[in-house]
Symmetry: C2
Subunit: 215 residues, 2 copies
DNA sequence: TGTACATCAGTGAACGCGCGTTCACTGATGTAC
DNA sequence: TGTACATCAGTGAACGCGCGTTCACTGATGTAC
């Protein structure tokens, strides 16, 4: 499938893979987005990676372990998507906060099954140290974005932390409604240009924490 | 299990059940909330209802049909929970809107697995006429609540419809974050009294559509 | 550079399990007369 | 009210399936000398 970016002497099928762990995670993500989280299976992942179904046991304790790792990676990419959005946005703190929210929603739309694994599923072990760390980092990014707007550290001021909660809830709600095809009942996002959609979302996001989009 | 409210001559175990369809739906909800949506099974439902696992086929075409019906019932109860909250609230339209949102969140917290079935799952057939009607009724309730506040019909004014979207997204986001144990990272809802929690949530909800909680 | 050996990372058969669904059956119920 | 019969709504055995996991195995790789 992806010979170019394979490990050492890739291409030729070899007994030892080289980096099967990473390959399994890639395959898992593909299976997840094709089949949806509700019919994910480890055997399908092994097949997808071109390997026998017994092989994964050498890299993950069990299917839960694989999904926990995948969710952790998901959070890393989630944050990166937000940062990418921010790098294209204006530099003022309000625009940066809005861009972060738009990245949050973009990620959900582009990776609905992975997003559900991260936020709506009990399959991953959310107490796993690595996963918990990545999830917290994602949350913390939002905290920093709000801090830059308010000029007060949310951790030291419950009122500002409530702004964090508002911003989080509004983007999380929008993201969930959109990936469940619910938002269309109210607003026809699907028929808008990306720019128009972003403008509408930005307005909704900023108002949720008491700011205007025209700042 | 529940002999008192059984059909005709309940109590004595009989060959013909009387109202097995309703009983299966009750059992399905119990299994759902005990096992979570990710390990729901029709056989467990039949067992729970005290009936052989072949029996459900006389009442539902398949497991998907049962879950579709259950989701429809879920939406009815969802609306009822909101209305109940409203009947305990002040009569002004803003208080009524906030109460509706609090009911939305209460329902999610009290019925997390059912809420996920309704909003985050692809198991039910969301194109089913009955389910789609109930889901739309729930949405429409929100439309009416916002209409009463704004004095303008959202269906005739896109700007007001955006208020609907905002209100929906904020409560939906809060509900999802709370049932996934995420909200606690930001605000310690678990340690607040119910009244305090409701006050905080009301504040967040109303600000999302540009209103104050002190109205 | 060559050899012996330990370790690593695959294979594929086998396990037991629970699942949804089907089906011949039968007991219970309802109805026509 | 009694009887014959059709229909309804259960039972439980059986089906085939895909699943996660285990395990003896073996080919590939790395290392010590």
């Amino acid at each position: 499938m992806d010979f170019e970016t394979g490990p050492p002497h890739a291409k030729k099928s070899r007994y030892h893979h080289g980096d099967l762990r990473a390959e399994l995670l890639k395959a898992a993500e593909a299976i997840l987005s094709e089949n949806g989280i509700e019919s994910f299976s480890l055997r399908a992942v092994a097949k997808r990676a071109g390997v026998s179904h017994g092989a994964p046991s050498h890299h993950f304790s069990d299917v839960r372990g694989l999904l926990t790792s995948l969710a952790g990676i998901g959070f890393q990419r989630f944050v990166r998507t937000q940062i990418d959005r921010q790098s294209e946005a204006k530099a003022d703190s309000v625009s940066q906060l809005a861009a972060s929210g738009l990245g949050y929603i973009d990620f959900a739309i582009e990776n609905p099954a992975l997003f559900r694994l991260m936020f709506n599923s009990e399959q991953p072990d959310h107490l796993d140290q690595h996963l918990a760390f990545e999830a917290f980092s994602a949350f913390n990014k939002l905290v920093v974005d709000v801090k830059n707007v308010r000029k007060i550290d949310p951790y030291s001021d419950p009122v500002v932390m409530k702004d964090v909660m508002s911003a989080w809830a509004i983007v999380h709600g929008l993201a969930n409604l959109m990936i469940s095809n619910r938002a269309g009942t109210a607003m026809d996002f699907a028929r808008m240009s990306k720019a128009d959609r972003d403008a509408e979302l930005t307005d909704i996001i900023l108002r949720a924490i008491g700011l205007s989009a025209n700042t």
